[in-house]
Amino acid sequence: MTTTTARSRVPAGGPRTGDPALSASGRRARRAAGRRQSLAAVVLMAPFFALLTTVFLIPVGTALYLSFFSDDQPGLGFGPERTVFVGLRSYAAVLTDPTFLGGLGTVALYCLIYLPLMVGGALALALLLDSGAARLRAFAQLGLFLPHAVPGIIAALIWLYLYTPGISPVIDLFARADVTIDFLGIHTVVPSIVNIALWSNLGYNMVVFYAALQAVPREVIEASVVDGAGPVRTALQVKTPLVRASIVMVAIFTLIWALQLFTEPMLLSQSSPMISARFSPSMYIYDAAFTRNNYSLAAAASVVLLVCTIALSYGVTRFTGRADTEETR
């Protein structure tokens, strides 16, 4: 990997477009400088690309390979183990497995609730803080951002306790108003997980949007005020389109993370029978690989998840890209 990039490297300002006025010695000096720069680039990039090869390219290749091959154990597993090509058999097994499809459905539902709430909520808060009407802005930002410093597993722990009858003051409060609420019931478990993710990341994304809003030129906003736009219209029709790049970035990252849903349900599954070991695709992969030791099934499920991630990210980019061109038209 790194060696091929090294060989194909063209020296910066190299002698390809040779200047005839340049003397031979000058050209030689320039070529030496170019070589030195190539060498420096290789040295600076080699460690990262070595890492990229070992912990990214080879694993992705291995996952692809595993998904097409399977260990065949003839005669009750006593004979010599052979690895045989099984074509798309593992993919067929994954895609017809109701537990995997159920997991995909769960994540789809999770994304449908989570994504709009997250992007809309974070943007709304950023616009409110940017409006000039909010007080104690620095404190509010710090408070909203705080959950980002709480590791995912601990956020899940805190909320698990807040969802647990007997420990939770929230359930207690509801009980006092004669409302029994089961946060980990069959219909509430996905919203409960959405809440954990929302709590963890709302402030972070708000800061991203706020930073982008701060970069909006003040003249643009003053112009809209002169044109008679009120604060709400200014926020929605002037500021929001101007931070579209950030909205797209936040949406894509939120989506990628949401599709990997693992930590929160894994922890909640310790206390809720509503969460099976194959609740989400990532949990399915973990279960297939390390509980059932079915590597080809796990690999095929991984590839399906990867393809979904790439397709959806591409979709979000295209979708917002089209909106972009339509607007400039």
Partner: protein, 287 residues
Amino acid sequence: MSATDSSLLRPGLLGRATVNVVVAVSVLYTLLPVLWLVLAATKDRDALFSSDLLSLGDFSLVRNLRDLFAMDGGLYGRWYLNSLLYAVLGAALGALLSTACGYAFDKYRFRHKEKLFGLVLAAVMVPQTVLALPLYLMASEAGLVNTFWAVFVPVLFNPFGVYLGRIFSRGYVPDEVLEAARVDGAGELTTYVRVSLRMLGPGLVTVFLFQLTAIWNNFFLPMVMLSDQDLYPVSLGLYQWNSSASVSPEYYPVVIMGSLLAVLPLILAFVLLQRFWRSGLTAGAVK
């Protein structure tokens, strides 16, 4: 700040009240669970289950702390050190590697540059669960499963850091500086270490902080790679203790206390390095 200079932009009194109520409720939503964690950490087991959080009668913070570090032969302290080692060392080394690579992407010209950069960006997208099984099989081939290295090496990989590194390098290190160093006859790498790296300082800190958070949060990889409790990071250790708590409730107070302590390093890092990561967020968002 932002729009305060133009008073025309200020919403009316009613609007202002609404804005502040919404913001205040949101802040309560984010702060109260953390406050609950702090209060719960001061309670003994019985008080915890009676949900009587505000009574200060049974203040057992010190006892919970002592219990936490005594539980299972002092495992928690061990986990904490492991987490610090994985996160601080890993983030420092990882940030250096990815920033150097991003710098090279910005400052040097070579064939297939944008294709390679596209590969780096694609790596950001790939779920960790997809890589975990192959990484596990590779580690087991190399005899590294259940060792420090099985967790430490994969967490060094930070493709988003390369992206940030390239942006910071474009923003903070002017090409003229490099030209001047070349005219002076300084070597490329010497220039990088002596001049550019210093200018990249704030960017480097941002990448470090992002990676520190990611590694401190890391849960899936250690769960796959490690079976020796002595090598666990805090996240995995607390997960395991919590699964024991349903059987033996004496784990509840230590899990809560342990969670509280595990939150502190990142809060500390974010507060101390505040001015750096803010600029990093802007760079990532506005590009």
